[in-house]
Symmetry: C2
Subunit: 357 residues, 2 copies
């Protein structure tokens, strides 16, 4: 049991999936930091500390522990870039409640990713993204690059949605939140990095199967909700105005903060339980690339949770060196809710469709 800054008890995370970490994590962190310095992704020393403090290399090393070093590094470059962009333009800063300006920036960002010739002079975040895109096109196939680009646009569309809600002081209900937040919290591009890091290309007809899509969305959503938990751990909790699973449930279900934490855990565990029940059926008929992809979803969920539990709570805290032996974590032995019926959230209820099995 962990306490938040405001004294709310956070139950341990339920995640019966194996964890691993890429053995070259130190070298990957060093090389990513050198890229950040070269590309001047950050504006000053304090931003540099913030972005390195997110430990994006550690995140990617857990997310894709069996990819080769170059692949994990490629993924880490985007993760660091996106942290910095997110902090300056999405979650904070002058655009964070200005959807009209952010929508244009999002258009430019997306085009910088897609078009090798796009003008990147207008905005400091564009040249490093173009450098990442050049590396991605050099190392990966056009199919993989296209999948990443689609995921990237989905992310930006979710951020505009979230910023629009903020501008209107609109608090989404659970259904809207689950549809919006998976996008805004980088779920789509981060999980698209699985194929970018490993270099595996799942054939289209398997990749776009509804059951594979459902598993992907469930994995993203569990990771997103775990990130809300990690943020609650780091930031003042009760009553704050941001859109997260706790404020959403407090408003939607009229719950006190501590009850919202319990309910959020049940929502999250019901999704992971459905993921774990559907997974073997899909694995049974999967080809070799899809098997790697599905294993990646599992590493993604577990790696994200473990990164979130281990990353220092405040940027000022000195983390242990990346390769250091790790203290074991406490995990919940069973899900907080074993209800097998669909969540009362129409936008995701189809994950429970029998036809997927």
């Amino acid at each position: 049991m962990v306490m938040t800054a405001t004294g709310i008890e956070l139950p341990p995370i339920w995640c019966p999936l194996a964890g691993a970490r890429h053995p070259r994590v130190e070298e990957i962190e060093r090389r990513a930091a050198a890229w950040l310095d070269r590309q001047r992704v950050y504006r000053d020393e304090s931003e540099r500390r913030m972005v390195l403090g997110t430990r994006g290399a550690d995140f990617c090393a857990r997310f894709t522990p069996y990819a080769d070093e170059e692949g994990v590094l490629l993924a880490a470059l985007w993760v660091y870039w996106a942290c910095c962009f997110d902090d300056a333009c999405c979650g904070h800063g002058p655009l964070s409640a200005a959807p009209e300006r952010f929508a244009r920036l999002a258009g430019q960002v997306q085009r910088a990713l897609e078009a090798p010739t796009a003008d990147s002079s207008a905005e400091r975040f564009l040249p490093p993204l173009q450098d990442f895109a050049r590396r991605m096109r050099r190392m990966r196939s056009p199919v993989q690059a296209a999948r990443f680009a689609h995921a990237h646009r989905a992310w930006l569309s979710g951020v505009v949605w979230q910023i629009g809600n903020r501008a209107e002081s609109h608090m989404p209900d659970l259904d809207e939140y689950l549809a919006m937040r998976r996008l805004a919290a980088r779920g789509e591009p981060v999980f698209a990095l699985l194929e970018i890091a490993t270099g595996t290309e799942t054939p289209d007809r398997e990749f776009h199967r509804p059951a594979v899509r459902a598993l992907t969305e469930m994995a993203m959503t569990v990771a997103t909700l775990d990130n809300d938990r990690h943020s609650l751990h780091r930031e003042p909790a009760a009553g704050h105005s941001g859109q997260n699973i706790y404020t959403v449930l407090m408003r939607d279900r009229n719950l006190a903060p501590a009850d919202a934490v319990q309910e959020a855990t049940r929502v999250r565990d019901r999704i992971l339980a459905r993921f774990l029940r559907l997974l073997p059926t899909v694995l049974a008929g999967a080809g070799p690339e899809l098997r790697i992809y599905l294993a990646g979803l599992c590493h993604g969920v577990r790696g994200n949770a473990e990164w979130g539990l281990r990353v220092p709570r405040r940027p000022a805290e000195t983390p242990p060196p990346p390769g250091a032996a790790e203290e074991p974590l406490e995990w919940a032995p069973s899900p907080a809710d074993d209800d097998r019926t669909p969540l009362p959230a129409p936008s995701v209820a189809w994950w429970w469709d029998r036809a997927l099995e």
Copy 2:
């Protein structure tokens, strides 16, 4: 030579591509109208007249003249739906300068397309879109449905961008306009309807080749610019505040309206000329499905132009019956510009890359 309402001469369109129209266009129009009535896509008789006046069935019959009737009908349902949605929520109406509210609506619309269980009770445009999506999933493969969904999100992201510009009274320059308008003007989903209508599935490794993507973007952009021309023909032109190729060039290049019309024709013809030069190289190495797709791009450009030239200028005008024999149109014999260098617009300059050839 055609005159606009304000007396500006519009040169004829250059388009050396074969045109055709599906022979069952009358039946398709009748069936699509019955669907619109059943689904209550419009709000009143005047909206019904407006949406039927767009002649979406005629558009699709020219766009995909060799698809089977069920496929053209499926495409037409979306085209009619999108016209009505666009008119009520994007180009006009209370959301047309309210990006914060439109971004949320866009999120709900996209989720209604993707998730069969999504709640569609909040907005009258959602149930008909879900009905279209159900039909699409029944008739087409998950790969085709996923491609359409990506294109659909790209469209909505472009509309938010355009609405944000309107809210800020920001007039884009040519580079921004070419990146934004292809999206906002439905270029992506309309051209994704090529595969939805024909049922052809281009293998992923061909579909995502950069040269195929460049041809697709060029075809979309030519069609978009032709639509700006058609709108100029129908609406008062000079000095109005909307974002179109003429107002963009007037502002960006400091041109009088008549000169902006000439310059816009040169921009558009340079893109089509590049498309026509690149096409044979790509066709040479194309498999059977890609050949059908590339032929579709050609029908798309030509069909869109011809539909725009033949659709009545004002909703009140009675059109000839859909199957009637057609007067020949006047076409320009040669491009207004034979400059083979890239357009001075970085976001699209890569279409001229030698590596694509």
